[in-house]
Structures are given as structure tokens and as C-alpha cells.
């Protein structure tokens, strides 16, 4: 093939994809989730065990996760028990740090704020960013309801469900389409985050508040007790971390500069062949 024969790479139109409400709240959430995760692990370390039910079993067994350290003939080891299965997690969970100065904590200081044990500060940081996250979520829901982002891009339609298998195959083959709106998998992911994971992690967080349990006792019934709520809160955290990892991978694969531009300026370069509309740029 000679250079003359090669068609110049056609570009789709530049579309205004993200409103200012979506862009600002996106970055606010990014900051919030970072601080909430690291301060949350600090809070977890104050009692590195999770239970099912209203209370924590000290004289009976209802723990589903326990992280700790045990003494063995070879010296102390980190141990993690999940649903009755015990794993040696020395170096990561239960025991971390260096051989000369081991730290006996649930999650290592590298992933907690502060890096040392300080439950009081973990709580200060966690509750501050909890308020900010909820406020940003409220603003985003209101704006997205009014400007149509929710209806257009988030809530899956019938065509999204029927288009799901093809979209899954396309994603698996890394054939990523840059359209005006989201693909079915994207819609479902964001729908799950905004309508399932965020509400769940906020409500289970509130269930841990003895004050809120008095105000809204149904929280205890919906989640099956304060300790179950604490376990769900932790589980949703794990799902949000997984979402974050996949989110970053997809941004890198889909073209990080174009994706970042759309989340900063709002303008997004679509795939070749995307029909132009009024308001687009070439």
C-alpha cells in the first residue's frame, strides 16, 4: 500500500458531552472517595473484624471477617479469616512494615489516613468527606434530572438491554465506540454506582450512627442490624474500588487524553462516522 492510497483517518465530530455539573461533581467525588477509602480503612483498623447481626459476637460466633496477628514458632504472622477460611496475610493484612519494625495493624499504614493509628482523625476526615460526597451527589442528581443526563445517559432503556451482548463482545475485543452518549455497559455501570452502590454505602454508613438509628429505626430492619450494615458498608467499598480500577483501565484503553478532556472541558472526540448535530465542532 502506498502513501497516496492511504485514506486520511476520518474524525467524528467534537461533541459537548459532559455538562459542568457532571464535570465538577466527578472530580469532587474522586477526591472524596480517595479520602473516604483511606480514612475508612483507618476506622476499620480500630476493630478489624466484621459481623452479621445487631451485635459483635465476643461469646458467640458471628464474624465473617477477622484480621489479626498470631504467634507461631517461626515468629508472629498476619492472619485473615474470611467466612471461616484462614489465610496467612503476613506483610499485607494483620502484620506489615519491615522485619525490624513490624506493624500489627489490619490494613497497613500505606493505605490509611493518617499512616499511624489514629481513629479520632480517621473519623474527622471520614465524616467531612462523607458530607461533601452526599452534597455533590444531591447536586448531581438534581442537575442531571433537570438537564436530562439521567434519562439520556444513565437509566438503561430497552435498547440498551438488547444491545448489551454485542457491547460486551465489543468491550472484550477492545473495540471501543466513542459515541454521543454511553454504551449499554457504561450506562449499566454508572446506573449501578449511582442507584445502588452510592445509596447503599451512604445508608449503611448512617445505620452505624446510634443517633440515626433512633431517627430511622427502619435502617436496622432493612440492613439486618448495625453490624450487618457495617459489613455491607465494607463490601460496597470493595465494589467501588473494583469500579475505580475498571474505570481507570477503560479510560486508558479508550484514549486517556480524549476522556480527560471531556471530563475537564466537556468536549469529546467521537468515533469516525458519528452523525454531526447542531452545536458540534469539527
Amino acid at each position: 500500500m502506498t502513501t497516496e492510497e492511504k485514506e486520511p483517518q476520518a474524525k467524528g465530530p467534537l461533541v459537548y458531552r459532559q455538562s459542568v455539573w457532571t464535570r465538577v461533581t466527578h472530580w469532587v467525588w474522586a477526591i472524596c472517595l480517595f479520602f473516604l477509602l483511606l480514612s475508612g480503612l483507618q476506622i476499620f483498623n480500630a476493630h478489624p473484624a466484621l459481623y452479621i447481626g445487631q451485635q459483635s459476637g465476643f461469646e458467640f460466633e458471628n464474624a465473617v471477617l477477622e484480621i489479626g496477628a498470631v504467634n507461631t514458632p517461626e515468629g508472629p504472622r498476619g492472619r485473615t479469616t474470611v467466612f471461616g477460611q484462614t489465610f496467612d496475610t503476613t506483610g499485607v493484612l494483620g502484620m506489615s512494615g519491615t522485619a525490624e519494625a513490624p506493624q500489627f495493624v489490619g490494613f497497613p499504614g500505606a493505605v490509611t489516613i493518617p499512616s499511624f493509628r489514629d481513629l479520632a482523625t480517621g473519623r474527622v476526615v471520614h465524616f467531612f468527606f462523607g458530607w461533601v460526597l452526599v452534597a455533590a451527589l444531591f447536586v448531581w442528581f438534581l442537575a442531571s434530572f433537570i438537564n436530562g443526563h439521567l434519562r439520556r445517559d444513565i437509566v438503561p432503556k430497552g435498547s440498551d438491554i438488547s444491545g448489551l451482548p454485542k457491547d460486551a463482545v465489543d468491550h472484550a475485543r477492545l473495540r471501543l465506540h466513542h459515541g454521543r452518549s454511553y454504551t449499554p455497559l457504561q450506562k449499566l455501570s454508572y446506573f449501578a454506582v449511582f442507584f445502588v452502590l452510592f445509596p447503599l454505602i451512604i445508608l449503611t454508613g448512617l445505620t452505624m450512627s446510634p443517633g440515626m438509628d433512633a431517627a430511622w429505626p427502619w435502617l436496622l430492619d432493612v440492613f439486618g442490624g448495625r453490624q450487618t450494615a457495617r459489613t455491607i458498608h465494607f463490601g460496597v467499598m470493595v465494589l467501588l474500588v473494583l469500579f475505580f480500577i475498571v474505570h481507570i483501565i477503560m479510560v486508558l484503553l479508550a484514549g486517556p487524553l480524549n476522556e480527560l478532556r471531556s471530563m475537564i472541558t466537556g468536549w469529546y472526540r467521537t468515533s469516525p462516522g458519528t452523525p454531526a448535530e447542531a452545536g458540534d465542532k469539527p
Binding site: H47, Q54, F58, T112, D118, V124, V125, F127, W131, R226
Partner: protein, 263 residues
């Protein structure tokens, strides 16, 4: 296809580099938030004031904490914090089975009053099976028996300018070079007059044991465990919390925990 492989390889290398640099640097760049007087930390602490105001606005003053059935008492009440005060004053009272114990109500009241343990036990009793939530994250359900604090405060006659109750305790939770630091806590009058706020002297149908705060422990059921002061001896009505301890309204609040403790 070669493009995809390349981007996958780049991705793997990139994420490995990112992950290892994160693990190496750790997160000690935010350790300054642990400094108690740090202005950034003080700004973040304002969220706790918001939480207090929001919960006071949302939760009715008389709204009860959940009470559980007897079958939910599945274990003894886990002791935490001070479990055996060793001050001479406390040991003396304990040696006499608290026969000479007095609970004193003082400060901004019409008349300072004191009650013996028998006098408290002869007041109308209330029992409640409630969930104790420790700030560390665990919970424990137990039956608490005592007399409501509100009517006891009324016997002293709370002056209108009083805003807080300060709860003084026998236990020296911390020993420093400057002397013992005694546990204390405080609450607003909403919590003090809440129907479930009791001066408890019974636990799980037994006399309240020393490890759980004998002879009298206050229960504030809509707050965390550190707002349930053990070994209580004096309740002082005040309009300002700054003269006590380090001025934050309680031993743990003085150590950086939020004063309200409802979350």
C-alpha cells in the same frame, strides 16, 4: 492487533509503576491531619458540628433508641476503657460496697443535692435492653436498669442559663507527670433529659459490676460508648465546657474525638 497488545503492555507497566510508587510513598503526606491544633483539621472538624445540628434537627428530642428483646442478650456486656479504678477514694468506697457513695448534682442549680445509692434505687426504675456501640466499631446488647436522670436534675432545679451537664468520674484513665487525668464527659440538656438517659446501677438483672462502671454509670442511648461515663460521682450544670480538662467537653473529645458522639 499490535496496537492493542502495545497498549495492554503499556497499561501493565504503567499500573505496576503507579502501584509500587503508591506503596513506597505510603500516605504519610496526610499525617499532619493528626495534629490536634492543625487549621486544616479544625476546618474538617466543622463537619462534626454540622452532624450535631443536623441530627438534633432531624431526631425528635424524645425519640427513643431501639430496645431489644431478652433473647437478643446473647453475651455479657464487654468491659472497655477503665475496668478497675485504683484511686484510694474509689477503693475505699468499693471496700464498703458503696454504702457511703453519694451522687452530687451541683453547678447552675437552685440547690446542690446528693443521693446515696439506696436513694437512687428507691426512685422510679427503668429497664431497657439496648445496643452499646463502641467508637471502635463493635456493638454489644445488654439490659440496663436505673433511674431517669431528668427527674433527678429537676430535684436540684436546673437554672435557665445552664446548657450542659458535665459528668465527673472516679477513674483516673490516664496517669501523667502532671498527675492523674480523670475521665469526664458532658452532654447537652436534650440528651440529659432524654427518657432513656438513666443513672444505671443494674446490668443484665445483676448489680452493676466494677468492670462496667459500679456503682453508677450514665446511659445516653443515642450516642457512642464514650458518652456513657462509668464510675460517676458528680454532675455539674454549666453554660461553658472550656474550663474542664482541655476544654473539649470530655476525656476522649480532649483527645480528638467528636464531642457529640451520635455518629
Amino acid at each position: 492487533m499490535s496496537n492493542i497488545i502495545l497498549s495492554r503492555r503499556k497499561l501493565l507497566i504503567g499500573s505496576a509503576a503507579l502501584g509500587s510508587s503508591l506503596a513506597l510513598t505510603g500516605c504519610d503526606q496526610f499525617d499532619f491531619l493528626g495534629q490536634r491544633g492543625n487549621p486544616v483539621r479544625q476546618a474538617l472538624e466543622q463537619a462534626n458540628v454540622l452532624t450535631y445540628r443536623a441530627q438534633r434537627a432531624l431526631i425528635g428530642d424524645q425519640t427513643l433508641a431501639r430496645e431489644y428483646s431478652v433473647s437478643e442478650i446473647r453475651q455479657g456486656m464487654k468491659p472497655n476503657g477503665s475496668t478497675e479504678p485504683m484511686t484510694p477514694e474509689y477503693l475505699f468506697l468499693k471496700g464498703q460496697n458503696f454504702a457511703n457513695y453519694k451522687l452530687t448534682i451541683k453547678g447552675m442549680v437552685e440547690r446542690e443535692v446528693s443521693f446515696s445509692l439506696d436513694e437512687l434505687r428507691n426512685m422510679p426504675a427503668r429497664s431497657q435492653i439496648t445496643r452499646h456501640d463502641c467508637v471502635e466499631g463493635w456493638s454489644c446488647i445488654a439490659k440496663w436498669t436505673g433511674t431517669a436522670l431528668g427527674p433527678v436534675l429537676d430535684m436540684a432545679g436546673v437554672k435557665p442559663e445552664a446548657r450542659y451537664c458535665v459528668y465527673h468520674c472516679f477513674d483516673n484513665i490516664q496517669k501523667t507527670l502532671a498527675g492523674d487525668v480523670f475521665y469526664y464527659e458532658s452532654s447537652d440538656l436534650v440528651d440529659a433529659y432524654h427518657p432513656q438517659t438513666i443513672l444505671s446501677y443494674g446490668l443484665n438483672d445483676q448489680v452493676l459490676p466494677v468492670s462496667n462502671g459500679a456503682p453508677v454509670r450514665l446511659r445516653i442511648e443515642r450516642a457512642l460508648g464514650y458518652k456513657q461515663p462509668k464510675y460517676l460521682h458528680t454532675i455539674e450544670l454549666v453554660d461553658d465546657l472550656t474550663p474542664f480538662g482541655r476544654g473539649k467537653g470530655g476525656y476522649w473529645p480532649d483527645n480528638g474525638y467528636d464531642w457529640y458522639g451520635g455518629i
